[in-house]
Symmetry: C2
C-alpha cells in the first residue's frame, strides 16, 4: 500500500497529465477556430485557459507544501522540483493556444489564414496534438525512451514553420500585411508550443534518469 | 559570521544578479544592432548568450545540491525554489535578446526597422534596459516595494507594442511584408522580455514576503 505522502506525489503527477490533456484540447480547438473562422470556438478556448492556470497554481501549492512538510530527498525531490517546471511549460502551452484563438477572434468573420496556408497550419495543429499525446503518455508511463521520439515531431514543426516564412516572403504573396502579421504570430505560437512540449518531455527524462539533457533551444 | 550554507545561498543570489546584468547588456546591444544594422554587434550578442545559459545551469545545479544536502525549510526553501524559476525567466530574456540580434543579422546590410519606427524600437529598448536595472536592484536589495514600480514600465512597453501594430496595419505602410514580419517578431520579443522581467520581480516579492502574486499574463 502507498502511504499518504506517496499518494500525494502520484496525485501531483495526475494533475500534470490533466494539464497536458487540457492544453492539447485547447490547441486542437484553437487550430479549428483559426482555420474555420469559428468565433464561438475561439471564445471557448480563450475562456478555458483559466482552468489550466488554476491547475498550475494547485500543483505549485501542493508541491511546495510537500517540500516544506516532507523534506523529500533524491528521486522524490527531483520529481517535485521538475513538476514545478513542467507546470510552467504546460501553463505556457495553454497561453499559446489562447493566443492562436485570439488571432481567430480578432480576424472574425474573416479567416486569419489564407487558403494556400490552410494545410500548413492544419499540419502544425496535428503535430501539436501529437506532441501533447506523447507528452501525456510519457507523464503516465514515465518512459524516458519515448521522450527521444519527440525530437522528430519537433523537427517537423520546425520545417513547417520555415515553410510559412517562405510563403510570407515570396514575391507572389498577395494577402497584405495584416494577414502576414497574423501568420507570423501563429507560426511562432505553434513553434513555441512544440518547444515547451519537448521541454516537458526532457524534464521527465531528467526526473526518471537523473541525467539532465539541455532544455531545448528554440530554433528561429 | 555567515556559515558555508548561507554563503552559498548568498552566492546563488549573486549569480542571479550577474545573469540580469548580462541579459540587460545583451538587449541593449541587440537594440543598437537592429536599429543600426550592425552585423558585428549582432554576432557578439548571439555569441554571448552561451554565457547566460551556462550561469543558468550553474545556479540550477547549485540550488538542487542545496535542496538535497541541506534540506532547507521555510524562507530558505522558498528562496531556492524561486531562484530556480528566476533563472528560467532570465535565461529566456537572454534568448529574446539573441532573437532580436538574429533579426538584425538576417537583414544585414539593411535595417529591419523602417525609419519611422526607429524611435519606437529605441524606446522599447530603453524600457527593457530600465526594467533590467530595476530587477537587478530588486535582486540586490530584496526590496519588495520596488517591484510594484515595474508594472508601469511594463504598461509603457505594452503601449509601444500596440503602437507598432497600429503602424503595421495602417494603409500607408509601404515597407512590404518582410519588414512587417521582422517588426512583428521584434515587437513580440521586447514585450516578452518585459513580461519575464516583471515575472522575476514578482518571484522576488514572493520570496521576500511569502505572498504569491499571480505571475503576469502576457498582454497580446
Amino acid at each position: 500500500m502507498r502511504d499518504a505522502y506517496h499518494e500525494e506525489l502520484d496525485s501531483i503527477g495526475d494533475v500534470l497529465v490533466d494539464m497536458a490533456g487540457l492544453v492539447g484540447s485547447a490547441m486542437a480547438r484553437a487550430t479549428s477556430a483559426v482555420l474555420e473562422a469559428d468565433l464561438s470556438l475561439a471564445e471557448s478556448v480563450i475562456a478555458a485557459d483559466d482552468a489550466v492556470d488554476a491547475l498550475q497554481r494547485e500543483v505549485d501549492r501542493r508541491a511546495t507544501d510537500l517540500l516544506v512538510r516532507q523534506q523529500p530527498v533524491a528521486g522524490d525531490l527531483r520529481m517535485i522540483v521538475s513538476s514545478l517546471r513542467m507546470t510552467a511549460d504546460l501553463e505556457r502551452m495553454g497561453d499559446l493556444a489562447r493566443h492562436v484563438a485570439k488571432v481567430a477572434r480578432r480576424r472574425y468573420p474573416d479567416s486569419a489564414i489564407p487558403p494556400e496556408l490552410h494545410s500548413t497550419i492544419a499540419k502544425m495543429g496535428q503535430i501539436a496534438e501529437l506532441l501533447v499525446d506523447r507528452v501525456r503518455a510519457i507523464l503516465i508511463d514515465r518512459d524516458a525512451r519515448a521522450a527521444a521520439a519527440l525530437e522528430s515531431e519537433d523537427d517537423a514543426m520546425d520545417r513547417l514553420h520555415r515553410g510559412l516564412f517562405t510563403a510570407l516572403l515570396d514575391e507572389s504573396w498577395k494577402h497584405g500585411v495584416e494577414t502576414a502579421v497574423d501568420v507570423t504570430l501563429c507560426g511562432r505560437y505553434y513553434e513555441r508550443f512544440a518547444d515547451h512540449a519537448v521541454s516537458v518531455a526532457k524534464r521527465m527524462v531528467f526526473q526518471v534518469t537523473g541525467v539532465r539533457d539541455a532544455v531545448p533551444e528554440d530554433f528561429d
